[in-house]
């Protein structure tokens, strides 16, 4: 049984010196705890951008008529708010941050089943996020369709809808990989002696979520693609 008494060679994961230095020690980290924190920093930043956009909408709605922005801007703002909050905050949110950090610990494992894949999904996540934000800034103007991309309106607007859908697709790929990683981790990495019904309940919830991510995302992805077609 491990006790909380610190051993002489105990080095925390935050102070651990690896192959890389500085910021690369984080970006190239395969440690599930560091990846969890990376997700947290990214998600919190997106959350605050999203919240700020929400506030802009509330200011606009404080009185009827035009208050601080034009209708087209408003439509862009609520679309971006939706995309940011749904695809970049809520869907990865808890499972990517706390799931990454605590799932292996809670089931007594050293790391997730595929640490490198885990790092890779963070990269994809960031790439997708950059695409999503870029779709707002490029020259055709922000998409104005709402985060659900209602067809057929989304096919008639001249704005960057395709880029935004592609971004959602890339983000979906990241969440598939994370889900896959979690399922395999829970199946294969439990500490010896831990049965399914000996797991705490947080891993249970993550397990159920991971299956949804794995199976529903491709179908949602296809419906998104249908919109482009």
């Amino acid at each position: 049984m491990i006790t909380a008494t610190e051993k002489t060679e105990y080095v925390s994961y935050l102070d651990h010196k690896g192959k890389y230095k500085g910021i690369f020690a984080w970006i190239f980290a395969t440690d599930h705890k560091r990846i969890g924190l990376l997700y947290m920093y990214a998600i919190m930043s997106f959350f605050f951008i999203g919240a700020f956009l929400g506030l802009l909408m509330k200011i606009e709605l404080i009185a009827p008529g035009e208050t601080i922005m034009k209708p087209q801007t408003y439509n862009g703002v609520f679309t971006l708010h939706g995309i940011l909050m749904i695809f970049m905050v809520v869907i990865p949110g808890l499972s990517a941050v706390f799931g990454n950090f605590f799932l292996p610990i809670l089931i007594g494992a050293k790391d997730v089943a595929f640490p490198k894949l885990n790092r890779f999904s963070w990269w994809i996540f960031i790439a997708g996020s950059i695409m999503a934000i870029a779709s707002q800034l490029l020259k055709d103007g922000p998409p104005d369709t709402g985060w659900t991309f209602y067809a057929p309106y989304s096919t008639t607007t001249g704005t960057n809808v395709i880029m935004a859908t592609a971004a959602a697709f890339v983000l979906g790929f990241s969440s598939i990989l994370t889900g896959l990683n979690f399922i395999v981790t829970i199946h294969q990495m439990r500490a010896p002696g831990m049965k399914f019904f000996n797991m705490p309940l947080f891993p249970w919830a993550l397990y159920a979520t991971a299956w949804i991510q794995l199976l529903a995302t491709p179908i949602v992805g296809i419906t998104l693609l249908m919109l482009i077609a």
Binding site: A113, F114, L117, I176, L180, N181, I183, V184, H187, Q188, M189, P192, L214, L215, T217, P218, I219, G221, I222, T223, L225, M226, A229
Partner: protein
């Protein structure tokens, strides 16, 4: 770390990566499944256009490709058997045959697509708007699905090339062949998708 733990973890690794591969295959299956669903919805909406468009596809090329893929699927399964029997030479031959089949498939596909382009049957061509929405949808789906499938072939080939060199350098051997196993699983997936793609795209009319 104790000796025992190391052993336990290696044991688990193989199972884990195989399970991971299977889960990945599930998402791939559903991805294509979703596309099939889209296909069938549009088919129900534009039966005539889909019927006429599918006549434009060459059943011969499709059939040849089916057989080539089925054959390659068998050879890669045989390569795995060979590795399990510690028969390095045969394994290399079988992987080689598989890669060769994949190449034939792609060459066939190239000619097929080239022919479609010559006939101006591709989305965005000047001919398309004249034919109507059903045709446009059919050919969009045709190019998208077979294109995605071809992409999978290329990914699978890359994976098998890696396997080939690893078998050669004995990094894949009768004790540790999970990479080849996963590569083979992926290759079978490609085959499996084609089994459904072929009748839907080429035959049913």
């Amino acid at each position: 770390m104790s000796e025992m733990i190391t052993h336990v973890e290696e044991h688990r690794d193989d199972e884990a990566s195989k399970l991971g591969m299977w889960l990945f295959i599930f998402t791939e299956l559903l991805l294509f499944g979703g596309l099939f669903l889209v296909y069938s919805i549009f088919r129900a909406e534009y039966p005539l256009a889909f019927h006429e468009s599918s006549l434009e596809l060459s059943v011969t090329i499709g059939a040849i490709n089916t057989i080539v893929l089925l054959f390659s699927s068998m050879t890669i399964a045989m390569a795995l058997t060979a590795i399990q029997k510690n028969d390095q030479k045969r394994a290399l031959i079988f992987i080689g045959i598989t890669l060769f089949c994949a190449a034939i498939f792609l060459v066939n596909k190239y000619f097929e697509w080239g022919h479609k382009f010559e006939m101006k049957l591709y989305p965005g061509s000047p001919l398309m708007p004249l034919l109507g929405r059903g045709y446009l949808l059919y050919f969009s789906l045709y190019f998208f699905m077979t294109g995605l499938h071809a992409l999978h072939i290329i990914i699978g080939m890359t994976l098998l090339v890696v396997c080939y060199f690893k078998v050669k350098s004995k990094n894949i051997n009768s004790k540790d062949y999970v990479l080849l196993e996963n590569g083979a699983l992926y290759w079978h997936l490609v085959d499996l998708i084609w089994i459904f793609l072929f009748p839907l795209m080429y035959l049913i009319s």
